[in-house]
C-alpha cells in the first residue's frame, strides 16, 4: 500500500474509532479477490471504545470490479444488519463512503480467524468427527440471516421488486444469456422449466446470495466453528429456499457428493440448526427446484467468467477453465429436472 494511503488510513481510523491515535502495521494484500481487494493489518488504538490491538481487514474494489454486485458501502450496511441479529460476521467497524483514504470507497472490519478454503471444509478428514455440529451451526447461521425481513430502512438499496424471487432470477438469466456471443440451448431449456415451475411466494427474507463452502470461514483449531460468513455482495430480498438450494446443489459440494449440504455435512444436522432458529419446519420438498436454479445460475456465471478472460481485460487460465465447467452443470441440469418431473 502506498505510504500516503497508509498514513491516511491511520488518521481516518483514529477519527472513525474515536481514538486519539491509531498506529497501524504495514497492510498486506490478501490472496484471491478478482472483484475486491482485501488488506490485512493490525491497529494499535491508544484510547476510546476500541482501545487495544485490533486485527483488521480493509476491503475495497479491485480495479476491475463486477458492476452488478453490491457496492462496498452496501456491503458494510449488510454486515451491520447481519451482525445486529447475531450472524457470525467480521464485525464491521468503519466505512469510508467518499474514498477519503484510498480515493475509492472502502470499509474496515475485524479479521476473523480460520480458513475459507472450500477444499478444507469439504474434504479435510480431521473435520469429520465435528461435521454434525459444524453443519448444525451453519444451519443456525443461515436461519439468523433469514430472520432479517423487508423492509429495512438501512437496506433500502435492496429495492422492492414485487416479482416472486424465482421469476426475477429467470428474467436475469435470460438477460445474461442474451449478452453472450454463443447459444446455450441446455441453459435455455432449464430456464424455461424454471419459469414454468417458479414458486409464486414473494420475497420474504434477506437472502445472502452466495452462502456456500468457500464463503464460510472456519477455524479448525477452535471447535471447529464458523468464524465468519463472508462475501455479502450478492444479497437480495429473496425466498429463504434460494440460499438453501445454492448451498446444497451438487455443483457446490467440491467432490464430497454424499454430504448433501455443501459437501460439509448432512441434511438432518443442518435442519436441526436451521429450525431451532427459524422456528419453522424446513420443507426439503421445495429444495430441488432451487437446486436447479442454483445449478443454472452457476453455469451462467461460469460461462461469463470465460468471457471475462476472452475479453482480454483479465487474463486468467482459471477463468478460462471455469467456462468449461458449464457443460458439467448442464449435464446435472438435464438429470435434475428429469428426476423432478419423473417423481411428480
Amino acid at each position: 500500500m502506498r505510504a500516503e494511503h497508509r498514513d491516511a488510513l491511520g488518521r481516518w481510523l483514529a477519527r472513525a474509532l474515536g481514538a486519539g491515535e491509531v498506529r497501524i502495521t504495514e497492510p498486506a494484500k490478501m490472496p484471491g479477490g478478482a472483484i475486491q481487494e482485501n488488506w490485512t493489518f493490525d491497529a494499535l488504538v491508544t484510547d476510546g471504545p476500541h482501545a487495544g490491538t485490533l486485527g483488521l481487514v480493509l476491503r475495497t474494489d479491485a480495479p476491475s470490479g463486477v458492476s452488478f454486485s453490491r457496492s462496498r458501502i452496501e456491503e458494510f450496511a449488510l454486515l451491520k444488519a447481519a451482525n445486529a441479529v447475531g450472524v457470525t460476521v467480521p464485525e464491521p467497524l468503519a466505512v469510508d463512503p467518499d474514498g477519503e483514504v484510498l480515493g475509492k470507497p472502502s470499509y474496515v472490519m475485524r479479521r476473523a480467524a480460520g480458513t475459507a478454503n472450500p477444499r478444507t471444509l469439504a474434504r479435510e478428514p480431521a473435520l469429520d468427527p465435528h461435521r454434525p455440529a459444524l453443519t448444525e451451526s451453519i444451519g443456525r447461521e443461515l436461519a439468523r440471516i433469514h430472520t432479517i425481513t423487508p423492509p429495512q430502512p438501512s437496506l433500502a438499496f435492496l429495492g422492492t421488486d414485487p416479482r416472486p424471487p424465482a421469476r426475477r432470477r429467470v428474467a436475469e438469466f435470460v438477460e445474461q444469456l442474451d449478452a453472450l456471443p454463443h447459444p446455450y440451448p441446455v441453459l435455455e431449456w432449464a430456464i424455461r422449466w424454471l419459469d414454468r415451475n417458479a414458486p409464486t411466494a414473494p420475497a420474504s427474507v434477506l437472502g445472502h446470495g452466495d452462502f456456500r463452502c468457500g464463503n464460510l470461514m472456519v477455524d479448525a483449531t477452535d471447535g471447529p466453528s464458523v468464524t465468519a460468513v463472508l462475501d455479502w455482495e450478492f444479497a437480495s430480498w429473496s425466498d429463504p429456499m434460494e440460499d438453501i438450494g445454492w448451498l446444497c446443489a451438487r455443483c457446490w459440494r467440491f467432490g464430497a457428493d454424499d454430504r448433501e449440504v455443501g459437501g460439509i455435512g448432512l441434511r438432518a444436522d443442518f435442519q436441526r440448526g436451521y429450525e431451532a432458529v427459524s422456528g419453522r419446519p424446513l420443507d426439503w420438498a421445495q429444495v430441488p427446484y432451487w437446486e436447479v436454479l442454483a445449478t443454472t445460475r452457476w453455469a451462467i456465471i461460469a460461462v461469463q467468467q470465460g468471457e471475462r478472460h476472452l475479453s482480454g481485460r483479465e487474463f486468467s487460465i482459471e477463468l478460462a477453465l471455469t467456462a468449461r465447467k458449464a457443460a458439467e452443470m448442464e449435464y446435472d441440469l438435464l438429470a435434475q429436472i428429469r428426476r423432478i418431473e419423473e417423481a411428480a
Partner: protein, 137 residues
C-alpha cells in the same frame, strides 16, 4: 504442409512433459497453475483427436428432432451447422415451442450436445459424475 511431429503429437508431448517432469517439482500456487495448464492442454488434445466425430454425432441427434433433410440443408461445414442449429434450438425453446414436452425428444438432443462436449472437456464426469477440480484434474 507442416512438419512432423504434428500439432496433436506436440500437444501430447507438452502435456506429458508437464505432468512427468515439471509438476513433481512444484508446490503451492505454481503447482495449482501447472495443473490447470495440464488440464487445458488435455482438453485441447482430446478435442483435436476427436476431429469431426462429435459434430457428426450431434447432427445425427438433431436429425432425430428436425428430420434428416432439414439438418443437411443447413449448409456450411459440420461445426458451423452445429452452431446454427444450436442457435435455432435455443430460440425455439425460448419461444415456448417445447413447453408441453420438455422431457420429450428434445431432452435426448440436449443430452447428446452435453455428452459430446464432456467426453473431451472432462471424461471423468461421464464416468463418475465428478466435477472438475483444477487442483487434481
Amino acid at each position: 504442409m507442416f512438419d512432423r511431429p504434428d500439432r496433436l503429437a506436440l500437444l501430447g508431448a507438452a502435456e506429458t512433459a508437464l505432468r512427468d517432469e515439471v509438476l513433481p517439482g512444484l508446490e503451492g500456487g505454481a503447482r495449482y497453475t501447472a495443473l490447470m495448464v495440464a488440464s487445458a492442454l488435455a482438453i485441447a488434445r482430446r478435442e483435436l483427436e476427436a476431429g469431426n466425430e462429435p459434430a457428426r454425432v450431434v447432427l445425427d441427434a438433431f436429425a432425430e428432432l428436425y428430420g434428416q433433410d432439414n439438418v443437411h440443408r443447413a449448409g456450411g461445414d459440420s461445426g458451423e451447422r452445429v452452431k446454427a442449429l444450436m442457435a435455432d434450438l435455443a430460440r425455439e425453446i425460448r419461444d415456448g415451442e417445447y413447453d408441453d414436452d420438455l422431457l420429450g425428444p428434445i431432452h435426448a438432443v440436449l443430452q447428446t450436445l452435453v455428452v459430446e462436449r464432456l467426453k473431451r472437456s472432462n471424461p471423468r464426469f461421464l464416468e463418475a459424475r465428478e466435477y472438475s477440480q483444477p487442483s487434481r484434474c
